[in-house]
């Protein structure tokens, strides 16, 4: 083991370095200059994102606890991009007076959760996986409770941390059983030993429930809506996009790597859960007025769509998931970007408040519409491609009925996405949200999303690259 080999961990190391620099910078800057930390953080993070793209070695460290393969790097880069957008979008919010005294911690916490996810992604054993999971969750709870002036924020925080502790307890119980049965916590040792029996099923489902909690799959999703609504908008966007995306990827990897011998079992589990998730998520989303809550349910149902990639349990599914993650980042962050701007400028978060938005803020409305269409899977924006490939992945394994249910759910989801479009474009309002000018960072954040939405689908190179890596996994 030499220092060179630590380059394998550069994503994590750079991130921790960024967090530390911000922490140190906070200590050594005066109150007047603190505002610069925001710019610094974004620049640093952008640098980190760029560094992520440098070609790097792949391999295994720490006796198998940490592995990195090209696909991991891609996923980490995607998450980096997403987080960068979140950071850019949150700039306007962090600027406000109420956050003036603690925003550097926001960056530190956010980055540490990202580090947690990276470790999860690269984990080679259950211990690292668990540590990453907790690292990705505990600071997140603090972030959810970040807004100290809103009781909902605290409520969200406590709901998140307690339910996550509960779910990790259950998951750990499952892991302990797996350990007991197969004698290892290392993935590579487990998968050959795995066999089908009652206790394995029990252990698997306990474990799966923990992951499902993280991805907010029905019936383990109930925390999500409250937490999403309670959290500050930017944290919600992070939660619903980055956190969820990472978790889906990891779930797939683990199912793929650890449980291939019982794929019969988990495909059925995933099938049931996917149907429930899509359907229930949609049913709840229909009724929502608060947009954050609305998007929470929408992203629950989106998680169900992710499962279509999971269920295939093959390279195609893996590619589709990673690809959709990228698409989903642009789409959901596009939506959240708009919601965040409007929430910050006018404090309005309800659907009715958006009535007539197109007449006052056309660009925002268009962005929102594109992003929503992408979520609904309407061409020519990227979501269409993402969904199509997910469906293809599931269809490849013969899950046609599931695909059918999914496509029908797409229609339901289209219904409520169109409700927002309707509010913005069709409904008339006596008191529309007035026109406001957005600052540079806001525009940048939304601009990246739009560019992503438009380009990702047509630039088939992205898919091809992911596919190449996934098929070489």
């Amino acid at each position: 083991m030499n220092l060179n080999s630590f380059l394998l961990m550069r994503h994590e190391i750079v991130l921790i370095a960024v967090a530390l620099i911000i922490l140190i910078a906070e200590i050594f800057t005066s109150d007047q200059n603190k505002g610069r930390i925001r710019g610094l953080a974004i620049i640093l993070f952008a640098l980190n994102t760029i560094i992520g793209f440098f070609p790097a070695e792949t391999g295994t460290l720490f006796g198998g606890m940490f592995t990195t393969i090209p696909l991991h790097i891609v996923v980490k880069n995607i998450l980096n991009i997403g987080t960068l957008i979140v950071l850019i979008q949150s700039n306007a919010w962090l600027k406000t007076e109420e956050n003036s005294d603690k925003f550097p911690e926001f960056y530190v916490l956010l980055i540490s959760t990202l580090v947690g996810m990276f470790f999860m992604i690269s984990a080679g054993d259950f211990l690292m996986f668990y540590l990453g999971l907790e690292l990705a969750t505990i600071p997140l709870a603090a972030l959810v409770a970040y807004d100290r002036f809103r009781s909902q924020s605290a409520e969200g925080g406590i709901k998140l941390i307690l339910s996550s502790a509960f779910s990790s307890g259950i998951m750990l119980y499952g892991i302990s059983m797996i350990y007991g049965m197969y004698g290892s916590i290392y993935f590579d040792m487990l998968s050959p030993a795995m066999a089908m029996n009652s206790l394995t099923i029990l252990a698997f489902i306990f474990f799966f429930a923990g992951m499902a909690f993280k991805i907010s799959l029905v019936p383990f999703h109930l925390w999500a809506a409250d937490v999403y609504e309670g959290a500050p908008v930017n944290v919600t966007s992070y939660l619903s996009v980055i956190s969820k995306g990472a978790a889906v990827f990891i779930l797939t990897v683990i199912l793929f790597k650890v449980f291939p011998t019982i794929s019969d079992l988990w495909q059925k589990v995933v099938w049931v859960i996917a149907v429930m998730t899509m359907t229930i998520g949609n049913l709840f989303a229909i009724r929502q007025q608060n947009l954050k809550r609305f998007i929470a349910f929408s992203s629950i149902s989106q998680a169900g769509f992710f499962l279509l990639g999971v269920i295939g349990g093959n390279e195609m599914g893996m590619t589709a998931i990673v690809y959709y993650m990228l698409v989903y980042i642009f789409s959901n962050l596009g939506v959240f970007g708009v919601i965040a701007i409007i929430s910050n400028k006018s404090g309005k978060e309800n659907m009715d408040d958006y009535n007539g938005l197109y007449h006052t803020n056309p660009m925002l409305s268009l962005t929102m519409m594109l992003a929503l269409f992408s979520l609904a899977g309407i061409p020519p924006v990227a979501g269409f491609f993402g969904k199509f490939f997910l469906f293809t992945a599931a269809a490849q394994k013969g899950f046609y009925i599931l695909v059918l249910i999914a496509t029908i759910n797409t229609i339901v989801s289209l219904y409520y996405y169109l409700l927002i479009v309707k509010a913005m474009f069709i409904n008339k309002s006596e008191t529309p949200i007035p026109y406001f000018k957005s600052d540079f960072y806001t525009k940048l954040g939304l601009g990246i999303c739009i560019a992503g939405l438009v380009i990702v689908g047509f630039a088939s190179g992205i898919w091809e690259m992911i596919a190449k890596l996934a098929f070489g996994m």
Binding site: V403, T407, I426
Partner: protein, 501 residues
């Protein structure tokens, strides 16, 4: 770059150009120019096609282009046309052109209106030129979705409800369709060969019959929803009633044809065995559809509802004819698509223009319009006559081809269905004449009507364009029919060979 890609490119460029316009006048001018170019292009395409064919080129698809898009999934951007697509493209260009002029004086958000309209048409063009099921599906959805905004923003009446219903039902159809297409894709090549979305490639293999039984209904119904297949047609009356003029025109005139086109081009062509097996179900449904739509139209009060039900009837005839699966009936189906596209577009244009003057679409609140707006009224009568199948206008050609074709089946089931369908021509006459009688003829119902101005230049341009096409097809159908029949040969062969007929 081949001529076909221009069909998609020009709408795109037009949309971008509209973005840079400042006001209503510029926007509509740009739209008119863009669609005008598109019309010319379509004309050139027809000419090129005929020249190429007469030069002896017998390839199934002409002007093909093929770019690899997603190598990993073997998705291509593959375009090509045969006589049928050429005809449909020409139809689209005509209706679009007329539509732009019919909506010359849209009241607000003009740029957005034209952009959405042209976007829709871009989807339609893309659909008709696609040889790759993936791009076909992409364009298909692209064509459907602008409808929501178009109806929702510029519509009338319960527009939000109608827009939502229409969008959801059509997307519901595309949900089924998507599964069907995926199923086709998964069975598109023998084991070990790369899967493909390419229509012509898939046509070379025989999809296993079990898969066909599963995916044929999905695909067929998926397209059928857009083709107003009974009982999934109910988006049509509401949707059309609420849509603004040009949208109704384009939607009923062109978009609904995507359904029929897809039905035979994808569902029946690729899965002939299942098509034969299940045809009877759909024949029953479409037979109902034809008669039912016509009867439904008789008692409607709203002009657009009448036309919408009439569309249900006529589009039912399209699918009915397709299911008869011989060259003549399918030729008739396509002629009917074109004919119905033109005349229903004309109808909707006229209804829009009449509505613009009377501000009502309730026929009982109108009367004697012939006196005050003779031009529009006469055109309406002609459109009506076309609709009820008067010789010399396009409807007759299509219907007769369908009937004769459908009658070529020797068994009682097909024959009874055909006869039932044939009766619709009487019912059609009833409702058309009812409307003409109440709406146009008779004494002037309302004093205010006397102040109406007859058609303005753009209205005349719009209607005459369509009228000329209707009459042209009605008077000289042979070249069109031959063009279509020639292109149907591979499809018929596939349908026949696989069943040993």
């Amino acid at each position: 770059m081949g001529i076909l890609s221009f069909l998609v490119l020009i709408p795109t460029i037009t949309i971008i150009a509209i973005l840079f316009t400042n006001d209503k006048k510029q926007a509509r001018l740009v739209s008119a120019i863009g669609t005008g170019i598109q019309l010319v292009l379509a004309g050139v395409l027809v000419w090129m096609y005929l020249t190429e064919r007469s030069a002896g080129n017998t390839a199934a698809m002409l002007f093909t282009q093929d770019f690899m898009w997603y190598p990993n999934l073997n998705i291509h951007y593959a375009v090509g046309v045969d006589g049928i697509s050429v005809a449909m493209i020409a139809l689209t260009a005509v209706v679009l052109f007329a539509g732009i002029f019919a909506s010359w004086e849209v009241e607000f958000l003009n740029r957005e209106f034209f952009i959405s309209l042209i976007l829709l048409s871009g989807g339609v063009f893309g659909f008709f030129i696609s040889l790759d099921l993936f791009t076909m599906f992409l364009f298909y959805e692209l064509a459907v979705i602008p409808m929501y905004l178009l109806i929702g923003i510029w519509g009338t009446g319960p527009k939000e409800y109608s827009a939502m219903k229409l969008t959801l039902m059509l997307m519901g159809g595309s949900a089924l369709l998507l599964v069907g297409l995926l199923g086709i894709y998964m069975n598109s090549a023998p084991a070990g060969q790369p899967l493909t979305f390419n229509l012509l490639e898939i046509a070379k293999v025989t999809i296993p019959i079990e898969a066909q039984r599963l995916f044929f209904p999905l695909t067929f119904v998926g397209f059928g929803v857009l083709g107003a297949l009974f009982p999934l047609h109910t988006w049509s009356p509401d949707g059309h009633a609420s849509a603004p003029t040009a949208v109704s025109m384009l939607h009923a005139g062109v978009l609904m044809k995507l359904g029929g086109y897809g039905c035979f081009r994808v569902a029946m062509y690729l899965m002939p065995e299942a098509a034969h097996e299940m045809a009877w179900i759909f024949i029953i449904l479409t037979t109902i559809s034809v008669v039912y739509g016509a009867y439904g139209a008789i008692v409607q009060k709203d002009l657009k509802y009448i036309n919408a039900y009439s569309s249900v009837s006529h589009c039912g005839l399209v699918i009915f004819a397709l299911l008869m699966m011989n060259k003549t009936s399918m030729d008739g189906a396509i002629l009917q698509m074109i004919s119905h596209g033109l005349m229903t577009a004309l109808f909707f244009a006229l209804i829009g223009m009449i509505y613009g003057r009377t501000h009502t679409r309730n026929i009982y609140e109108m009367g004697g319009l012939m006196k005050v707006i003779p031009f529009l009224s006469v055109v309406y009568v002609i459109a009506g006559l076309a609709s009820l199948g008067l010789p010399g206008l396009s409807g007759f050609v299509a219907e007769m081809t369908v009937f004769v074709g459908a009658f070529q089946h020797a068994d009682t089931f097909h024959r009874v269905a055909t006869i039932i369908v044939t009766t619709s021509i009487v019912v059609t006459a009833v409702y058309i004449l009812r409307v003409v009688g109440i709406l146009l003829l008779g004494p002037i119902k309302n004093e205010e009507f006397n102040h109406f101005k007859d058609a303005k230049w753009f209205e005349k341009l719009s209607t005459i364009t369509l009228l000329v096409m209707i009459a042209a097809i009605g008077l000289a159908p042979l070249w069109l029919s031959n063009m279509i029949q020639h292109s149907l040969i591979p499809i018929i062969q596939k349908l026949a060979v696989t069943t040993g007929i």
